[in-house]
Each structure stands twice: as structure tokens, then as C-alpha cells.
């Protein structure tokens, strides 16, 4: 089924732009629209801003990095989810199916356990995510099977369970007064502590992985066909699969390292994008990227404004994502395939 591309893409872009305006203008610290425009204009033109220093600080150093991070993380998880759903030919797959989130979680709780600084915790989380997926891929490839995709997914599930047990063990051994709350907060996901310094290690891998996935958008169509049909079309499925998994894992691990575990975005947004522009990957990937960024931006804005205390993102994405997903399921036959 084909759908017109540009109206769908325009809707996704509108959602993102609206999300940006809403996210920049509301927050716990009162910043008026004129102050916001003044600070941004001053930044762009290089002249000193007339807004109070605290306001300038909020816009440029607190709210700004957080908004950018929400867009990047949301977009990254949506693109990775889209690629994986195509690659594994399964609408229930999310970016963490190969253990990226579980590996990152184990890395992060170990970082907290050994009282490392922020850079150490995020670095371990990133490496943990990459290592987990690499292990799953190697084990899955060593197991001979006629259905390599199924074996890969099942390996991801069992390795994920093992890593989950590792997280449980570290939490069990952790200091209950200091480390355990920090681990719990991290596992629930939050962008509360995003700073300008976080944006570089987030943007690099996300940009690299996304560029690779966008470049492979035509091949993804072929990869979503059954294995023998793809081979019959002359596609080297093995190397291509490695490239797609590597790119998706890179963006997922970088996102999870910055934000903690945020479920649902990578599962729900690809379906939403598919409802807008249909299953053709060249259209689907940019739409999912824009929609994912807008979706997480709205959710993060809610998380930081609803109460003086932050609401964990993992909780909000699940509470909003579940009814939404059920609603999508009701009409899914029409859009999947």
C-alpha cells in the first residue's frame, strides 16, 4: 500500500516544530516569550542579551540542551525501532530487542556501584550497550539455523534476561541509602540532568548511525522481505544485516547512555509513522525520525512541568504509550504490510 509522502512528512514536521515551541516556552522557571526570543536572537547575532542572567542561563544551559537531547533521543530510538521492525519483519520489535538497553543498564548500574562520575557512568552504559549487542550477534551467528533472524531475536531475549539478572545482582549488593535510589532513578529514564557537555557524545553516534540507516533506506525494503527472496534479488543479506544492526545499536546505546532506559518510543513511533506514510522505508525513516523527536519532546515537557519533582520518562512513555498502542493495534492490519 502506498501513501502520499509529503502530507505525512509535513504532519511529522509540524508535530516536531510545535513540540519545540511548547518545550521552549514552558517550564518550571518562568521565561516569557519575549525574553525567550530576545535570548535566542542575542545568541544568533552575538550581541549581549537584555534578559536577566538567570533567564539566559535557563534558556541556553538548562532548557536548551534538554530540548535538543529529547529531540535527538526520541528521533534516534524511533529510527532504530523502524529499522529493527523491518529487519526482523516483526511489528513487536523495539530497539532494545538485541540487548542494547539491558547492556547499557548493567554498565550504568556498575558505574554507580563503583561511584564513578557522570562521564564514567555514561561511558560504561554506552560500552555496555554495544558489547551486549555484539555478544548477541556473535552467539546468534555461531548457532547454525535455517532461520538466522529468529535465532538472533531469541538470543537477544535470553542474553537480555541474563543481563537483567546482572542488574538485579548489582542492585542487591548496592548501598541501599545512596546507590540504590540512584540506580532506580537511572533505570526509569530521565533527561533532567542533561547539560551542554552531554550533547556532543550523544550527537556523534546518533548522527553517524542515522546517516547509515538513511543511506540504506532502499535496502531496508529488500531486507524486510523473507531471507530467500532477498537473496534472490541479489542482496548480500549477511553484511547488510551487520551494517543495519551496528547503526541501530550505535544510536540506541548513545541515547540510552544519556537518558537512561526509555521504552515504548522505539516501538510505538514506527507504527505511527507507518500510519502516516505507509511501509516504504525511504519515506518511513525520515518521518519516524521527526515524529520520534516530537513525541519524546512532548513527553519530556510533561515530565518536567507537571510537578516540582520530575516524573520519570520511562513511566510517562508507558502510561501514554500503552493505550496509544492498543488503539494503533485496532487498525494495524490496514497499515502493516
Amino acid at each position: 500500500m502506498t501513501r502520499p509522502f509529503f502530507p505525512g512528512l509535513a504532519i511529522a514536521l509540524a508535530v516536531l516544530l510545535l513540540g519545540l515551541i511548547v518545550a521552549f516556552t514552558i517550564g518550571r522557571y518562568p521565561v516569557s516569550l519575549s525574553e525567550l526570543l530576545d535570548v535566542l536572537a542575542a545568541r544568533l547575532t552575538g550581541r549581549p542579551s537584555s534578559a536577566p542572567p538567570a533567564v539566559e542561563n535557563v534558556v541556553l544551559l538548562v532548557r536548551g540542551p534538554r530540548v535538543v537531547a529529547a529531540v535527538l533521543v526520541g528521533g534516534a530510538l524511533a529510527v532504530a525501532g523502524t529499522a529493527f521492525q523491518g529487519l526482523f519483519r516483526n511489528p513487536l520489535v523495539s530497539p532494545d530487542i538485541l540487548g542494547a538497553s539491558s547492556g547499557a543498564a548493567l554498565g550504568a548500574v556498575l558505574g554507580i556501584f563503583f561511584s564513578l562520575g557522570v562521564v564514567g557512568i555514561e561511558g560504561l552504559a554506552f560500552v555496555g550497550g554495544l558489547a551486549a549487542v555484539a555478544a548477541v550477534y556473535v552467539i546468534g551467528s555461531l548457532l547454525q539455523s535455517r532461520d538466522p533472524i529468529l535465532v538472533l531475536v531469541l538470543t537477544g531475549v535470553v542474553v537480555g534476561a541474563l543481563l537483567g539478572a546482572g542488574v538485579g545482582l548489582v542492585k542487591y549488593l548496592a548501598d541501599p541509602y545512596n546507590q540504590l535510589p540512584a540506580m532506580t532513578f537511572w533505570l526509569l529514564g530521565s533527561l533532567a540532568s542533561t547539560t551542554v557537555a552531554d550533547l556532543l557524545p550523544l550527537t556523534g553516534p546518533v548522527a553517524l548511525g542515522t546517516v547509515v540507516l538513511v543511506a540504506l533506506r532502499w535496502r531496508l525494503n529488500v531486507m524486510s522481505l523473507p531471507e530467500d527472496e532477498a537473496r534472490a534479488l541479489g542482496v548480500a543479506t549477511g553484511p547488510l544485516r551487520i551494517a543495519i544492526v551496528t547503526a541501530a545499536t550505535l544510536v540506541t546505546s548513545a541515547s540510552v547512555a544519556t537518558s537512561g532506559i526509555i521504552g515504548w518510543v522505539g516501538l510505538v513511533v514506527p507504527h505511527l509513522a507507518r500510519a502516516l506514510v505507509g511501509p516504504d522505508f525511504p519515506k518511513l525513516i525520515p518521518t519516524a525520525a521527526l515524529l520520534g523527536g516530537g513525541y519524546l519532546l512532548f513527553i519530556d515537557t510533561l515530565a518536567r512541568t507537571a510537578a516540582p519533582v520530575e516524573i520519570p520518562l520511562g513511566i510517562l512513555t508507558a502510561v501514554i504509550g500503552t493505550p496509544f498502542f492498543i488503539w494503533l493495534l485496532a487498525g494495524m492490519q490496514k497499515t502493516w504490510s
Binding site: 535557563v58 540504590l180 540512584a182 510537578a307
Partner: protein, 341 residues
């Protein structure tokens, strides 16, 4: 049926064991439960870190072991033989690490738990007491319950006099400190933000056990929302604009002074960010125990420097000598006060 038989057996064994305690009196614990005072108390199993510290201060030789082994730098401030006693796990809190068979094998005369007194912990105490037939005392771990906890513990361990002494010192210390600031109305006391976590964005909400001493002396900026620990955003901290920041995280206290995002906060601008000492036990927050008593004096001094001109070193030396039974040297005290670990 199987369940009934087990209940019957437990009841029988309790009845058979009862004569051993027949002559003993009972003491009402923090939960209002009547706990049999064992005939002799030579070995006490601490259910969690606060219980271990309480017991260590009052009667170190009774302590069977620690919920977690002490690190080398912590042992410096404890009696060498007691501080080095083994790790025995904990029964309380989120998930027990102690095996009840191991607890039994250690042959304690009493199990002591200090912490939250609520139906969860009361039922845990009842269950463990039933299973082990060892008296299980649950004491209230809130800061204002410290003196009463000492009296009860003194009665339970047959050391009423020492218990009374510690209770008196506790009461006197608290009233001496709060008395000096009693004339300052609540609304003009410093507004304090309590920062935890490497980014300083975890804080204790109103009434949480983590900020009891802060709320006793000052205003907790996060106090309007009641609860336990929570994450907040920097924006929210900027809006609160606290006068003083108290933190237990060394990374945060090192980075906050140069972090541009925190620069507009009043406490940062005025250099009033304070790292809490934590050797051998934290002064503000964890474990929530009598270690917060010396922390109260430290907090008073950083919050009201002109009202508390006394040198912290002397107070630290006195407290450590009396409560931890080891007199620290001047370099050791400096290390404690610098918040090093």
C-alpha cells in the same frame, strides 16, 4: 493442613522455649510490641546499618557483625576489633541479604532493628521472631526518637545507665542547638537545597528521613511536596534559588562551583555549597542514625556561622570519643571535616 501443622509446631516450640525467658521482664519497643528481655545479652544481631551503629555506640562488644563490612578508611575511626568484625548481611529494608539459618548459627540473644516503624517492618519483626524464637526489637529510627531508642536499647541489653547517659547527651545536644536558633522564625531561616547524586539533582522531599536534621534547623526548599527521595530539574532548583546547598556527593560539590548552569543559584554565587563529612558514617543522611547528631552541629554552624562560632574540631573529637570510642587525631579530624572518603 500442612500449614496448620507448621503453625502448631512453631507455637509449640515457642511454648517450649518460653521458660528460658520466664523470669525475664518485657520491654515495649518502638512499635509498641512487648519484647522479652533475654536473661543474658552477649550477642546482638543488627538487622540493618542503623541498628549496627546504635548498638556500636552504646555497647560495641555486643555487636556480632556489620550488615556490610567496614572499609579500611572507616575502620580507622572504630574500635579495631569491633570495626573489623565480619559482614553478616541485613534483614531489613529492600530485600534481605542475611540468611535466617546463618542468623541462627550466630546464636544471637537479640535481634535489633532500627528504622521505619510501619506495618511492613512490624510484620517482618513478628515473622522473624516466630521463625527464630529470638527476641526481635524494632526501634523508631527517626531523628527525634534517638533518645527514646537509647533508653529502650539500654533496657533491652541490661545497660540502663549507659542508655540513659546517651539519651541525656542526645537530648542536651539537640536542645542546646535548637535553643540557640529558637527565636528565629521559621520563615526567615535559610532555605536549603539538599543535593544527592553525581549531578546533584536527587533531593529529599518534605518529611523524608534523609532531610530530618535539615528540616529541624532550616527550611527545605523541596519540603512543600511530601515524600521520600526524588529527582528534580536544574530549572526547578533555579526557581527555588536556595540560600545554602548541602550535598553528600563529592563529584557534585567539586563541579557545581564551575558549572555555568548552576552559576545563578544564590548558594553557588555566595559560596555556600557544603560537602557533608562521611567518615566513618555520613553526617546528614545515610545511614539515618545517631551519626546525624554530630551532623546537626555541623549543619547549625554552616547555616548560622555567627551563632555557632565554636570550632568543629573540638565537638568532633568529643563526639567521636564518646560515641565511637576512639579519639581521632587532628589530621584525622581534618580529613573527616573535608568530607574526604
Amino acid at each position: 493442613m500442612g500449614l496448620d501443622r507448621r503453625a502448631l509446631l512453631t507455637g509449640l516450640s515457642a511454648a517450649l522455649l518460653a521458660p528460658r525467658h520466664a523470669r525475664a521482664e518485657t520491654v515495649t519497643d518502638g512499635a509498641g510490641r512487648a519484647v522479652l528481655v533475654p536473661g543474658k545479652v552477649e550477642r546482638v544481631f543488627p538487622a540493618g546499618p542503623p541498628a549496627a551503629i546504635f548498638l556500636y555506640t552504646l555497647a560495641p562488644q555486643l555487636l556480632l557483625g556489620w550488615p556490610r563490612a567496614n572499609r579500611v578508611e572507616e575502620r580507622e575511626f572504630l574500635l579495631p576489633d569491633v570495626g573489623a568484625r565480619p559482614e553478616v548481611g541485613r534483614i531489613t529494608g529492600r530485600g534481605s541479604t542475611a540468611n535466617l539459618e546463618v542468623v541462627l548459627a550466630l546464636k544471637p540473644d537479640l535481634i535489633l532493628d532500627v528504622g521505619s516503624v510501619n506495618p511492613t517492618y512490624i510484620s517482618l519483626a513478628e515473622r522473624v521472631q516466630q521463625q527464630t524464637s529470638i527476641p526481635y526489637a524494632l526501634l523508631d529510627g527517626r531523628f527525634d526518637g534517638t533518645a527514646q531508642a537509647y533508653r529502650t536499647l539500654g533496657a533491652l541489653t541490661g545497660q540502663r545507665e549507659q542508655g540513659e547517659d546517651f539519651a541525656r547527651i542526645t537530648d542536651e545536644t539537640v536542645s542546646a542547638i535548637t535553643g540557640r536558633i529558637a527565636t528565629i522564625p521559621k520563615s526567615s531561616r535559610p532555605r536549603v537545597y539538599y543535593a544527592r547524586g553525581p549531578r546533584g539533582l536527587e533531593t529529599g522531599l518534605g518529611g523524608s528521613i534523609n532531610v530530618e536534621t535539615i528540616e529541624l534547623l532550616a527550611q527545605n526548599v523541596a519540603g512543600e511536596t511530601r515524600g521520600g527521595l526524588a529527582t528534580v530539574s536544574i530549572e526547578q532548583v533555579l526557581l527555588w534559588n536556595p540560600d545554602v546547598i548541602v550535598t553528600i556527593d563529592r563529584d557534585f560539590s567539586a563541579s557545581v562551583r564551575s558549572d555555568p548552569a548552576w552559576a545563578p543559584v544564590k548558594a553557588v554565587r555566595e559560596g555556600r555549597v557544603h560537602l557533608s563529612p562521611k567518615l566513618p558514617f555520613g553526617w546528614v543522611d545515610f545511614p539515618p542514625c545517631v551519626n546525624r547528631l554530630i551532623g546537626l552541629r555541623w549543619l547549625a554552624k554552616i547555616l548560622y556561622p555567627e551563632l555557632f562560632p565554636e570550632d568543629m574540631r573540638a565537638a568532633t573529637r568529643d563526639f567521636y570519643t564518646r560515641f565511637y570510642h576512639v579519639t581521632p587525631s587532628d589530621p584525622q579530624i581534618d580529613r573527616v571535616l573535608a568530607g574526604r572518603d
